[in-house]
């Protein structure tokens, strides 16, 4: 097999919102820096594209940075690092304006200024939006703007299999070119992982097929801890079969959640009183975790409806009328019509909680730096942490920009202070070639099918690490994942082609998913309290005395996760109670 290698100054893994923002930040820092962006899909296919609702940043006079910070921190159930949040809310407006200057078609007020809308868990209106395709417009704006920089070299449809770590620092990655099957070393002075989340460890998810946690897994395998992996956000309103997300904006415009009796059941769960018009931080505009939990309890009471794809409740938009639905929520209507054959103007939409976002991820500081020298991370794959135990809606798109830019700048600075790569890289590359050939490319025999392991993993995660968790269920889940990991060793790959072998890619992804699933379960098992999205039926209360700290999952020598803890950074908002609806 040929030995192929590419050289660059900064290597960015992932070409979604955070990766592209980071690439632009590096380009602006020093035009001499050579940047490589590697992604398993074309940039405009990245999952940022699916975000609908909006991006939060303080811009109106009646709002303040402290308000945004407080909403974020309380929304995150005090698991957020407050120093990171302060930076985040401070830099958010500037980042959003920059994106506006790059052409993002934000929805506007009559006077030409940017319009903002209310969003779940926010006290003030501060969510910028581009109709209901905010993520799509942000991603395409960033992608098209990135085309301006000739120093950015793209590796489209390449899959990273391993980080090159030598001499105590990260110096690039080994990657497979999907279209040809060739495996190359891409050397760099610093590396930024922006590869997105891992929602695909769960069966019901709004996440796209590509969200398999590859970047988290390769960092984890390189010895970098994964932080707060137990915190998995459910979005309360997804379409049951497809997991397609019905944006919070529906509820912000005044949509109602109804149980099978047509009753606005959220009023029974300390989320305020039903008012005819939407009230911020109340009822349907309460935080996502509380809404998802209310669904499970409502189901236990037998008040949900039953459908072919599991239980559901109704999201009712009919009273908003045709004009508002068409003007403010056209994409929602399009999705319902196209994928579920339902017209929200006339009918109620069946919805259920679906896995939406991973608060946890690669542990980074406020500069996007990880514990591994030369390795940075940003976006959903990273955990800074501004999302804590529950991410506030419309903070994730802003996070891409703020921490994408910060990670880009830090990685650029790091690269500027490095000389060449160390000698050991070629050896590491050859080892990885051998491993890939043995385990994947030249694999023969094997009996386990990818689909069976994947489905079994989904089942384990839904039952063991879903909305409500217990010691017993989590321990069982951990055992079952171990079983699946040993089954994985006996995987059958029927496709031996070098050209665009999606079965090969699927098996590489599955190996990443299993590592992530394991770390989620282990982190959840160790957190014996209920906080934000992590709800333990056996430990129902928040326990600040013992658990006001981030979990860090390290991969030990046997490949299993080991959990350590690190204190939460508190600056000026002491832990309080999350109160909604008052």
């Amino acid at each position: 097999m040929d030995h192929i290698s590419y050289e660059s100054d900064v290597l960015i893994i992932g070409a979604g919102g955070a990766g592209l923002r980071a690439a632009i930040a590096v380009s602006e820092k020093d035009p001499k820096l050579k940047i490589s962006i590697i992604s398993k899909v074309y940039p405009m296919r990245s999952h940022t594209v699916s975000a609908e609702g909006g991006a939060a940043a303080v811009i109106k006079d009646n709002d303040s940075l402290d308000d945004h910070a407080y909403d974020t921190i309380s929304g995150g159930d005090w698991m957020t690092d407050q120093d990171a949040v302060e930076i985040f809310v401070r830099e958010a407006p500037k980042e959003m304006i920059r994106l506006e200057h790059w052409g993002c078609p934000w929805s506007r007020q009559k006077d030409g200024k940017v319009a903002v809308r209310p969003f779940g868990g926010m006290k003030k209106k501060r969510t910028w939006f581009a109709a209901d395709k905010t993520g799509f417009h942000m991603l395409h704006t960033l992608f098209q703007t990135s085309l301006k920089y000739s120093q950015i070299q793209r590796f489209d449809e390449w899959f990273v299999t391993r980080l090159l770590v030598d001499d105590g620092r990260c110096q690039g990655a080994v990657a497979l070119e999907i279209s040809t099957g060739q495996i190359a070393a891409i050397k760099a002075k610093s590396v930024i992982i922006c590869s997105g989340g891992a929602g695909k460890v769960f069966p019901f998810t709004t996440n796209a097929n590509i969200k398999t946690g590859d970047g988290m897994a390769i960092a984890y395998r390189a010895g970098v801890p994964l932080k707060d992996m137990e915190f998995v956000q459910y979005h309360p309103t997804g379409l049951p079969f497809t997991g397609i997300l019905i944006t919070e904006a529906c509820r912000a415009e005044g949509g109602h959640l109804l149980n099978k009796n047509g009753y606005r059941y959220l009023q029974d769960y300390d989320l305020g009183k039903p008012e005819p018009r939407p009230v911020l931080r109340s009822m349907e505009l309460g935080p996502r975790d509380r809404l998802s939990q209310a669904f499970v309890q409502e189901r236990e009471k037998g008040q949900t409806l039953e459908g072919p794809y599991g239980d559901y409740v109704h999201l009712d938009l009919r009273h908003l009328g045709k004009k508002i639905i068409n003007e403010k929520l056209p994409f929602v209507r399009e999705l319902c019509l196209k994928y579920e054959n339902i017209d929200p103007i006339k009918e109620m939409i069946p919805v259920r909680p679906v896995v939406h976002y991973m608060m946890g991820g690669i542990d980074t500081d406020i500069h996007g730096a990880t514990a591994l020298s030369g390795l940075f991370a940003a976006g959903e794959c990273a955990c800074v942490s501004i999302n804590g135990a529950n991410r506030l809606g419309s903070n994730s798109l802003t996070e891409l920009l703020v921490f994408g830019a910060r990670a880009g700048e830090s990685a650029a600075n790091f690269a500027l202070n490095q000389n060449g790569s160390s000698k050991g890289l070629d050896f590491l590359y050859k080892n990885e070639l051998k491993r890939l050939n043995k385990q994947f490319l030249n694999r023969t025999g094997g009996t386990e099918k990818i689909v069976d392991i994947r489905k079994a993993m989904h089942h384990v995660m839904e039952n063991g690490a879903g909305i409500y968790r217990t010691e017993v269920a989590l321990s069982d889940a951990q055992n079952e994942i171990q079983e699946l990991k040993s089954k994985f060793k006996n995987l059958r790959i029927s496709d031996t082609s070098k050209t665009f072998n999606t079965e090969l890619v699927g098996s590489l992804e599955l190996s990443c998913l299993l590592d992530i699933a394991e770390s989620v379960i282990q982190s959840a098992l160790f957190r014996k309290e209920s906080r934000g999205s992590h709800q333990r039926s056996d430990f129902k209360n928040r326990d600040d005395a013992n658990y006001l700290s981030h979990s860090l999952a390290y991969r030990n020598k046997n490949g299993a996760p080991e959990i350590k803890y690190q204190p939460v950074a508190i600056t000026k908002w002491p832990p309080g109670e999350r109160i909604y609806g008052k």
Binding site: S36, Y149, I152, Q153, R154, E157, E177, S179, T180, T499
Partner: protein, 134 residues
């Protein structure tokens, strides 16, 4: 920004058949629309010949009229007229795509542009007809 992905060099490319447009109705209609230009050219030349005949005197004018009555030219006239009408209709229908007329901030809807095209067509036809015959 450059793109590094190398081609495996083995990709497959389907060739388009010479008469590709015969496979789809919409493409046949497209080619017919394009061929109306032959009708346009034909009739422009007829007009030119008519003027030539008129300028050469009364005899050649009637000679020309007689010529127009010959079966071949009758058929050509019918075919070219059908082409001309198809040309007019497609042209007026598609014009709003290329023309965006704004009245201050208000963008005039395509259907209005299209209908005013047809109105113009009718008015011009009446004027030309009267001018030529009375």
């Amino acid at each position: 920004m450059t793109n590094t992905t190398k081609s495996s060099g083995k990709s497959y490319k389907k060739e388009m058949p010479i008469l590709w447009w015969t496979r789809r109705t919409s493409h046949i209609i497209f080619v017919m629309r394009e061929l109306t230009s032959l009708g346009v050219a034909y009739f422009a030349i007829i007009l030119l010949l008519l003027i030539g005949a008129i300028s050469q005197g009364e005899e050649s004018y009637y000679e020309f009229i007689k010529l127009m009555k010959s079966p071949i030219l009758i058929w050509l006239s019918i075919i070219s007229l059908l082409g001309l009408i198809f040309h007019s209709v497609t042209w007026f229908n598609l014009a709003p795509k290329a023309m965006v007329v704004k009245f201050g901030k208000y963008r005039i809807p395509g259907i209005v542009i299209m209908l005013s095209n047809y109105a113009g067509w009718i008015v011009i036809s009446i004027i030309v007809g009267r001018f030529l015959l009375y």
